[in-house]
């Protein structure tokens, strides 16, 4: 009976998958501790840490005072000492009070000490729109962090990857910003094997193969890309989708191989366009794939505005916008 259960795969939401990664890693390694606001008895506002305080105690599941500066700062000090803290920031919009600690300290201490010190910490935080969260519960701030050398940035698009990527992030010896797409926290389910497994950082995945156009996305934009691909198929267009999974360092080989095949690239992100992450991918393609490109590299993004509440639908990239982008490059 027990073995049958162990072999049976279960369907997990992303919240459950992330929780399961934390449980596996905290069970395996007592250097792993987690800290944040309301993560103890409340189990986190999204219930990612539900029940962990009963399993691991308050020495390892640390409810903190309400100060992100302190959460990030304390996590750095713990990591320098040899622990592997996983800090939860309730919403990524509230990482800004801890921004200085993260970009000035976590990111630079290895470099600044010429490799003597390391900061193996993870900052987990829900990001992104589509949940009627308004300006401060919806942002996608990855551009700030990917442009800070020393930090790795990860954004999963499904529960399976979320668990494997979080485990890799916890085991990684560098600070990782682990961006959790809250819009799909509970909407997508994956079958998960029993126990811990890694999904390597820095490796993209091809979630759909196609030969006409490459759509590059991450996080909650991946399901949107999949919807768009289904629609385009009806019009005879075969879309290939790359899920970057890790934004820094990103998988240049996967991008080049795909674009060499399709000759077209559409870059999908929900963050504003100017200075956004996909600007980097566009520049990378301009520098390295010009001989393969048969049309313009097109960005499909949120608008260059703060994130709106009532007009969220007008802001968020949608299937129509994506299809327009795809046609723009194909019809060039």
């Amino acid at each position: 009976m027990a073995t049958v259960q162990a072999e049976k795969k279960q369907a997990f939401t992303m919240v459950q998958a992330i929780r399961s990664a934390l449980i596996d890693e905290m069970t395996r390694d007592d250097n792993v501790v987690t800290l944040g606001e309301d993560i103890g008895i409340r189990g986190g506002v999204f219930l990612v840490t539900e029940g962990l305080i009963d399993m691991f105690g308050k020495e390892r599941v640390i409810d903190t005072p309400l100060a992100e500066l302190g959460i990030i700062g304390a996590a750095i000090g713990m990591a320098l000492y040899g622990l592997r803290p996983v800090a939860e920031i309730q919403f990524i919009d509230f990482l800004y009070p801890g921004f200085d600690m993260f970009v000035s300290e976590a990111a630079k201490l290895r470099y600044r000490s010429a490799g003597q010190f390391k900061v193996p910490m993870v900052v987990r935080s829900p990001y992104g729109g589509g949940v009627r969260g308004g300006s401060y519960h919806s942002q996608s701030p990855e551009a700030y962090y990917v442009s800070t050398p020393g930090i790795k940035v990860v954004a999963p698009s499904n529960p399976y990857d979320a668990k494997g990527l979080l485990i890799s992030s916890i085991r990684d010896d560098d600070p990782v910003l682990f961006m959790e797409p809250k819009k799909i926290y509970r909407t997508v389910k994956s079958e998960l094997p029993e126990g811990a497994y890694e999904v390597p950082l820095g490796k993209a995945s091809i979630v759909r193969e196609g030969k006409h156009v490459t759509v590059i996305a991450y996080g909650a934009m991946v399901p949107l890309a999949q919807e768009g691909a289904v629609q385009m198929e009806k019009e005879g267009v075969e879309v290939e989708i790359i899920d970057l999974r890790t934004l820094q360092p990103y998988d240049t080989d996967a991008i080049l191989t795909s674009v060499a095949k399709t000759g077209h690239a559409v870059l999908l992100q929900e963050a504003p366009r100017i200075g956004g992450y996909m600007g980097e991918i566009a520049a990378f393609l301009a520098e390295n794939a010009i001989e393969h490109l048969e049309g313009p590299v097109v960005r499909v993004t949120g608008w260059d505005t703060p994130f709106p509440y009532a007009l969220e639908k007008a802001y968020m990239p949608n299937v129509e916008r994506l299809m327009r982008g795809i046609k723009k490059t194909l019809n060039f």
């Binding site: 000090g77 713990m78 320098l80 201490l109 000490s113 003597q116």
Partner: protein
């Protein structure tokens, strides 16, 4: 002696002229230990003088002297043990030397040479050593304070008797880091010493313009911890209060804020012009009437532990040692240009590999 928190006047063990002002016997210091304290202060000052000259000579880009604050630095660092951690700021070189950083490593840091454990990554005052548990100071004022708390939380989690000390200036107490750090440490009862070197200025801004409280120590009250206001130019008082805070931390009784009231002799840094803001005569008064080294020497002379001949001999010894250490730093090489791309991450990413190849080609090396 009963040492009390939240006093209106600084805790003293010595009068300005070096006469005992408190129960020095209660400190349990041997004559030998007293002489070690004195030697450290003389040494730190000599190293600092040599370091500052490098800027004048155009051989270093920056220097911030700790001169005048030797008693604060040495008196507090002497209570630390090997496994304790230090998080300092830009005026913490004295405590780093006491913790074990070699003067040669310090000079190499100022010169940007490879003998510096941090390989000249930061401008001067960013050195550190993992072996010695000295975390490299940041340039961003205040932002070591919460890290120190995190390390102390980890020390507690690992059930050690070790502690973490963090040094910062009076200016840093206006940053959020100070308040968040004290609050966290108090909530968790972390074994940390918050050591504020109140040298009365943050560049040009006087303490009265920095804060509306009379002392910095009293801010501890708001976080439910003890704050001690101590004469930072009295090494025995600094030692006594630091020892008390350290014993308390090791016994699991939580954090302490110490305000060491002191004065810096140099400009804020080699890039500052302190004549623009210091009132006439103020510096002279501190130098001639409150100097921590002179004051402690007078005490030692009074105890018949010191005399002119010993002083002469010590100065010669220290001079030779500093010259020796400096010579080691001088012959140390600058870092190789290609190493600029190392240690961003545990392993160079493919992007960094590509950039390294680009730089190698630019340099004509491989």
């Amino acid at each position: 002696m009963d040492i009390k928190p939240f006093t209106d006047t600084p805790i003293k063990f010595l009068e300005y002229d070096g006469k005992p002002a408190g129960d020095i016997g209660s400190l349990g210091l041997t004559n030998e230990q007293l002489l070690v304290m004195y030697r450290w202060m003389v040494f730190v000052r000599a190293v600092d003088d040599r370091g500052y000259i490098l800027v004048r000579q155009g051989r270093a880009g920056f220097y911030a002297q700790v001169a005048g604050q030797e008693a604060s630095q040495v008196g507090s660092a002497l209570v630390l043990t090997k496994n304790d951690w230090i998080y300092g700021d830009h005026r913490s070189q004295g405590s780093q030397l006491v913790k074990g950083l070699k003067a040669a490593q310090w000079f190499a840091h100022v010169l940007g040479r490879t003998l510096d454990p941090t390989q000249g990554r930061m401008m001067p005052h960013g050195s550190g050593s993992a072996d010695l548990h000295i975390v490299p100071p940041s340039s961003t004022v205040g932002n070591k304070i919460t890290e120190a708390v995190g390390t102390a939380m980890a020390q507690r989690y690992r059930k050690t008797k070790d502690l973490t000390i963090t040094y910062f200036g009076d200016g840093a107490t206006s940053e959020g880091d100070f308040h968040v750090g004290l609050n966290f440490a108090a909530v968790y009862g972390s074994p940390v010493i918050f050591f504020c070197q109140n040298n009365q200025y943050a560049i040009s801004v006087k303490l009265e313009e920095q804060t509306h409280t009379k002392t910095i120590a009293e801010k501890a009250r708001a976080y439910g911890m003890d704050g001690y206001f101590v004469d930072g130019n009295d090494i025995l008082a600094v030692y006594a209060v630091s020892k008390l805070a350290a014993d308390k931390a090791r016994a699991g009784n939580g954090p302490t804020l110490i305000e060491a009231y002191t004065y810096r002799y140099g400009p804020h840094s080699s890039a500052d012009d302190d004549t623009r803001y210091r009132p006439k005569g103020e510096l002279e008064m501190w130098r001639t009437q409150r100097d921590p080294v002179t004051r402690f020497r007078a005490f030692l002379v009074g105890k018949k532990l010191w005399d002119d001949a010993k002083e002469q001999k010590l100065l010669e010894e220290v001079k030779a040692e500093v010259a020796d250490e400096f010579a080691k730093a001088e012959v140390s090489t600058p870092p190789e240009p290609l190493t600029v791309l190392d240690h961003v991450y545990a392993k160079r990413t493919p992007h960094l590999d590509a950039e390294r190849a680009e730089l190698a080609a630019e340099l004509g090396v491989s």
